[in-house]
């Protein structure tokens, strides 16, 4: 829904048109995302699907494999722990707002999975993180079916 728009004139800055849009959205999550979310929220389980061709266990689950574009139909539970593949300690957001504490983003290869799982690390200082370390999910008590149902992964 478009809000009011108007101009800001300013000599050498030229004329700027300003305004605000508010876009409500709602879309179907799809069968795979629905089960993935429900299993996390209700059962603290991380569910993937196995590709019918290359047999990679895909996370998050999806109807087709991103490598061979074949259907992925068999549901497989993967562990909520695994090995750290790579990470970055992020100092602030792209618009230059600096975080109070760096956030550690990570890709994790969960035991039983065939692809990396993106999440954040907690209970560890950036300097103590190293690739290949074992990490485990810390689940939130207040779960709503999103990836933040896992608060973070901590070193084992």
């Amino acid at each position: 829904m478009p809000g009011k728009s108007g101009i800001q004139s300013g000599g050498s800055q030229g004329v700027g048109v300003e305004g605000e849009l508010s876009i409500p959205y709602r879309h179907a999550a799809g069968r795979h995302a629905e089960r993935f979310s429900r299993e996390m929220r209700d059962n603290r389980r991380i569910m993937g699907v196995r590709c019918s061709r290359c047999e990679a266990v895909l996370l998050p689950p999806r109807p087709y494999c991103g490598f061979c574009f074949e259907p992925a139909t068999e549901w497989v539970e993967v562990a909520d722990e695994g090995e750290l593949v790579t990470f970055t300690s992020v100092q602030g957001d792209p618009d230059a707002a600096v975080f109070e504490e760096p956030r550690i983003r990570a890709l994790i290869m969960l035991d039983g999975a065939g692809v990396h799982f993106p999440h954040v690390l907690g209970e560890v200082a950036p300097d103590d993180v190293s690739e290949g370390m074992r990490v485990k999910a810390v689940w939130s008590e207040d779960r709503n079916g999103t990836l933040s149902d896992i608060k973070y992964f901590r070193p084992i």
């Binding site: 993935f36 979310s37 490598f67 790579t86 992020v90 100092q91 950036p126 999103t146 990836l147």
Partner: protein, 383 residues
Amino acid sequence: MTRAAAVVGAGQTVHADRRTDVSVPELAREAARRALEDAGIRARDVDAVVFGSGPESWEGVNRPEGWIGPALGVPGKPILRVHTGGTTGAAATIAAFYHVTSGMFDVVLAVACDKPSERVAGGLPDDEAGAGFTLDTRELAAMQARQYIDRHYPEVREEHGAMVVAKNRGNAAKNPFAQVRTPVAAKDVMASPPVATPLKELDCPPLADGAAALVIADERRARKIASRPAWFAGLGTCSAGAFMPDFDMAYPEPCVRAAQIAYQMAWIYEPLRELDLVEVYDAFSFQELIWTEALGFCNPGEGGKMVEQGITAMDGEFPVNPSGGILSANPGGAGAMLRQLEAALQVMGRAGEHQVPGVKKAMAHSWGGALQFSTVTIFSHRM
């Protein structure tokens, strides 16, 4: 390919942090006008237009295809808009190439532009997985860099990323269209504040308002229009799945495959020997090293050595990004077309102060999306 095609004219705007004097359509018009002037043809000589731009939230105008088409000065001609993330500008060129080689059109104008200074923060979330948890490009690139360094340490170290920045910024000093033209030393890069480790501030690109345009013609028209056209010799594109962490980011398969397809088409067996230079999409310093390897110019892990020994310098055996690359000018969707434009100009011998002597074959590369799109274009001085 049913018939040959070549770049016969090129135009770009200066890439600036912020262009408050022009609207988005006017920015695109600037580049299109220059490309037509460069080719020495009139608007009425253009048979069709392909236009590439980023997502609407990067445009400062809604449905840019509606506005930009008429602004290009070629009213009444067919127009097609393409968008494939960071490779958008390259995809516009590729679509124009298809237009020409199919025999449908003889002269096609490809234009790409973006105005990220007016981008709207955010947008609809990419939560196909129902998760609403996505990595931004910088975080993705940071994790890619770490994976790469970790695999090849100590042959590849953080210093090698800094050397890439120093090299490309030095090259940009000779490119009047570049956005950042002040040289920096590798030690300045190392000393710049961390943003997403191992990336430091100067390992990351600026963001520019800018546009680029190419005139692409079939064999008959190309020979009439240009004395030394840049012929399309090879083209490879590869698109992978949407979930970026799936593949090996330190040696990305979509890039490897796109290169293989292009080499096959161009009959190239030893890229380092047979090509004269490459313009890669160095959105982040370490990516130049990763692409250099994935495109087959050296073995995995040797990217660091390539920059350290000066092989990829402007006056080295195999220059990489003589224009200064994305690290020196990053106009969103136009960035990928700039790689092709610079490679084509090198082949045409018209790159100006950053011309590498005696270029016969040059390559352009780009990546986009969550590392999922890859394009490789090879230009040759001979058809």
